[in-house]
C-alpha cells in the first residue's frame, strides 16, 4: 500500500510541532493563527479540550475569528478526523490557503487508540496531496513516549521545534501505516456467520442483543445496529466469501468486529467526506462517525474491522 508520494508538495504543508511546555505551545501556535488571519486565511484549531482553553485564553479577542474544535470529542475516533474535521473545514473554504492546527495524539490516548492515531497522521499526507492547506500537528514531547515522537518524524515531512524548522529525514508515512496494520487477536467467544443477504437482519439483531446484555447504553444501540449492518454488508458486497460478526465487552468498551476473507486495498476507505450524488463508500465513513474507535487489520489472508463503543 504505497499511498503517499514523498516528494515535497508545493501547496500542502504538514509539519509536526514538538513542544515541551505551554509556553512553547503558545509561542508557536499563536503566531501561526494570527499570521493566517492577517493573510485572510481561514484558520481552525482542533486540539484536546484543555489545550483549546489554553489557546483560547492566549488568543483573547482573536479567538472569535478561529474555528475552535475539541479534538477529544470531534476526533475521539481518529478514523473520522480527515473526513470530518480536516477536510470538513478545508473543503468548505476552498479557493485559498487554509490553516489548521490538528492535535490527534496526546499522552492519555490508550494503547488500543494509538495505532489508529499514528495511521491517521500518516494518511493525512495521501489525503491532502496537492491541496492548498497547512496542517500543523502539535506533539507534547514532555509527556509522549519515544515511539510517538519517532512515528511523528515518519508521518510528517517537516518538523518544527521551538528554535528551528527542518525537513524530516525519517519521513516514510506508508511504513507507519504498514507497521500498525497488525493482527487483531480473535476474541469472540461466539461469532455470528453471515453468508447471504438474508443473514444481515438477524446479524443486526444478534449484535443488538449482545450489546444490550453487555450494558451498552440504550441510546447507542441504534449506532451499534447501524455499525454491525454496515460492516457485514460491506463484507458481502466486496468479498466473495462469508464473514463472521463478533460482539463482546472488553476494557470498558463494547467491541463489534467483522472478519472476512477480503483485502482492503484503499487505505483512505471511510476517510473521504460524502459527495453529493455518490452513495458508494459511505458505509465505512458512517462507521467512523458512529464509533469511538475503529481498528483495521488487512492482509492477503483477510480483513478484520474492529469497532469500539464506550460502555460508560
Amino acid at each position: 500500500m504505497n499511498a503517499t508520494d514523498t516528494r515535497p508538495d508545493p501547496r500542502f504543508v504538514h509539519p509536526a510541532l514538538f513542544y515541551r511546555s505551554d509556553a512553547e505551545y503558545l509561542a508557536a501556535l499563536v503566531p501561526f493563527v494570527t499570521e493566517g488571519l492577517a493573510r485572510e486565511q481561514p484558520v481552525a484549531v482542533a486540539v484536546p479540550g484543555e489545550r483549546l482553553d489554553l489557546l483560547r485564553d492566549a488568543l483573547g479577542d482573536t479567538a472569535r475569528h478561529v474555528t475552535m474544535l475539541d479534538m477529544a470529542e470531534e476526533g475521539r475516533n481518529p478514523g473520522r478526523i480527515i473526513a470530518r474535521v480536516l477536510r470538513g473545514f478545508a473543503d468548505a473554504r476552498a479557493g485559498g490557503h487554509v490553516r489548521i492546527v490538528g492535535e490527534p495524539i496526546w499522552a492519555s490516548r490508550s494503547d488500543a487508540e494509538y495505532p489508529a492515531c499514528a495511521q491517521h497522521e500518516a494518511l493525512i499526507n495521501a489525503a491532502f496531496t496537492g491541496r492548498d492547506v497547512t496542517i500543523l500537528c502539535p506533539y507534547d514531547t514532555s509527556a509522549l513516549d519515544a515511539t510517538a515522537i519517532a512515528d511523528a518524524r515518519q508521518t510528517h515531512p517537516v518538523v518544527w521545534e521551538a528554535d528551528r524548522r527542518y525537513a524530516s529525514d525519517q519521513y516514510a508515512p506508508d511504513r507507519v501505516v504498514a507497521r500498525y496494520n497488525a493482527p487483531l487477536p480473535d476474541a469472540a467467544d461466539r461469532a455470528f456467520p453471515v453468508s447471504r443477504p438474508a443473514d444481515v437482519s438477524p446479524a443486526r439483531r444478534f449484535a443488538a442483543d449482545r450489546a444490550r446484555r453487555a450494558g451498552l447504553p440504550e441510546e447507542r444501540l441504534a449506532d451499534l445496529e447501524l455499525i454491525a449492518g454496515e460492516l457485514v454488508t460491506n463484507s458481502l458486497q466486496h468479498t466473495s466469501g462469508p464473514c463472521r460478526l463478533g460482539v463482546w465487552a472488553e476494557d470498558g468498551h463494547l467491541v463489534c468486529e467483522v472478519r472476512d476473507g477480503g483485502r482492503l486495498t484503499d487505505p483512505l476507505a471511510g476517510r473521504r467526506p460524502p459527495e453529493a450524488g455518490r452513495a458508494s463508500g459511505l458505509g465505512l465513513l458512517l462507521v467512523n462517525d458512529l464509533a469511538d474507535l475503529v481498528r483495521v487489520h488487512t492482509s492477503a489472508d483477510g480483513t478484520t474491522v474492529r469497532v469500539l463503543l464506550r460502555l460508560r
Binding site: V200, S201, R204, D223, E225, G229, A279
Partner: protein
C-alpha cells in the same frame, strides 16, 4: 383496528382489513376465499367474489361457502367476472376503480349491510410492467380508502405466474400478507396527517424495492409534503434514507419520516439529505 403483518389464515379479519394472499395451489386459495367470504357474511357484510370464467364457473368457485346459494339469491353475495370488469387485458385505471369500489361500499351500507368485502383474483391485472405500475397505485389508493371505510379485501395472486420481484412489491403495499415479504410495508396509516405508514426494516437489500414501490404506489402528499408514519419502522440505514431522499426530490417534495428508530436521525444528521427530514414520533 386493522390487522397488519403476517397472516396465516383468512378468518377473523376486520371490516377494514386488506390482505395479500399469494398461492401456488388453486384448491387451497379456493378454501381461503371461501373462508374469508363466509366470515364476511357472518358479520353482516355484503360479499363479492371477482374471478375467472363465466357466471357458472364463478358460482362454482365459491360453492364451499356455507349458505352461498341463499346469499346469492338475496344479493348478500355476488360474483363478477374479471373479463367483464376488465375487457381487453386489464390495465386498471386506479381512480376509476377506486370510485367503483367506494360506490359499491356506499350502496352496501345503504342497503343495510355492515360493509363490503371483496375477494379478488388479481393475477391477470399485474402481469406486465405497465399493469403492475397502475395496480400498485390502485392498491395504495384503495388501501387508504379501506382504512377509513367499511371495505375489506383479499387480493389473491398466483405466485407460479408472477416474478418474485412483482410479488414482493405487491405484498409490501398490503398491511397484511401471507408471505414474509421483503421486510418492509408501505400502506395507509391509522394516524391522521400521514401520507402512509412505512414499517419494518430497510437496508441495502430491499432499498431498491422500496424505491420502486414508492414510485408506483405514489402515496398522497399532506400540505405539500410526503409525511411517512414510521412508528413501526425498526431499522433504516443510509441507503434507505438516500432512497427516500432521491424519491422526495424526484417528486419535487420534502419527505418527513416520523420514527422512533434513533438511527434515522443520526444518519440524516451525518449526511446531506435535502429531501428528507427525520422527526421523532410525536
Amino acid at each position: 383496528m386493522r390487522s397488519s403483518g403476517l397472516v396465516l389464515h383468512t378468518r377473523d379479519l376486520g371490516r377494514h382489513d386488506h390482505v395479500c394472499w399469494s398461492y401456488d395451489d388453486r384448491a387451497d386459495v379456493g378454501l381461503r376465499v371461501a373462508e374469508f367470504l363466509l366470515d364476511g357474511l357472518t358479520r353482516g357484510q355484503q360479499v363479492l367474489y371477482v374471478g375467472h370464467g363465466d357466471a357458472e364457473g364463478l358460482v362454482a368457485a365459491v360453492h364451499r361457502v356455507d349458505g352461498i346459494e341463499a346469499a346469492l339469491a338475496t344479493g348478500a353475495a355476488r360474483v363478477t367476472s374479471l373479463d367483464a370488469l376488465y375487457p381487453g387485458g386489464g390495465l386498471v385505471d386506479p381512480e376509476v376503480q377506486l370510485r367503483a369500489y367506494s360506490a359499491a361500499t356506499e350502496q352496501a351500507v345503504a342497503a343495510g349491510y355492515r360493509g363490503l368485502r371483496v375477494a379478488a383474483e388479481a393475477t391477470p391485472l399485474v402481469r406486465s410492467r405497465a399493469q403492475l405500475t397502475a395496480f400498485l397505485h390502485y392498491e395504495h389508493l384503495v388501501d387508504q380508502y379501506m382504512a377509513g371505510h367499511p371495505f375489506s379485501a383479499l387480493c389473491a395472486y398466483d405466485r407460479t405466474r408472477l416474478s418474485e420481484q412483482a410479488l414482493e412489491q405487491l405484498a409490501s403495499v398490503h398491511p397484511s400478507a401471507n408471505l414474509p415479504g421483503v421486510g418492509f410495508r408501505l400502506h395507509a396509516s391509522a394516524r391522521p396527517g400521514h401520507s402512509a405508514e412505512l414499517s419494518g426494516e430497510i437496508d441495502m437489500f430491499n432499498r431498491e424495492v422500496l424505491e420502486q414501490v414508492l414510485d408506483r404506489a405514489r402515496p398522497p402528499t399532506r400540505d405539500g409534503r410526503l409525511v411517512l408514519d414510521g412508528s413501526d419502522l425498526t431499522f433504516i440505514d443510509h441507503r434507505g434514507l438516500i432512497g427516500l431522499d432521491e424519491y422526495a426530490r424526484s417528486r419535487g417534495t420534502t419527505l418527513v419520516l416520523r420514527t422512533e428508530f434513533p438511527g434515522a436521525a443520526r444518519i440524516a444528521g451525518l449526511l446531506d439529505l435535502p429531501g428528507v427530514r427525520v422527526e421523532p414520533v410525536p
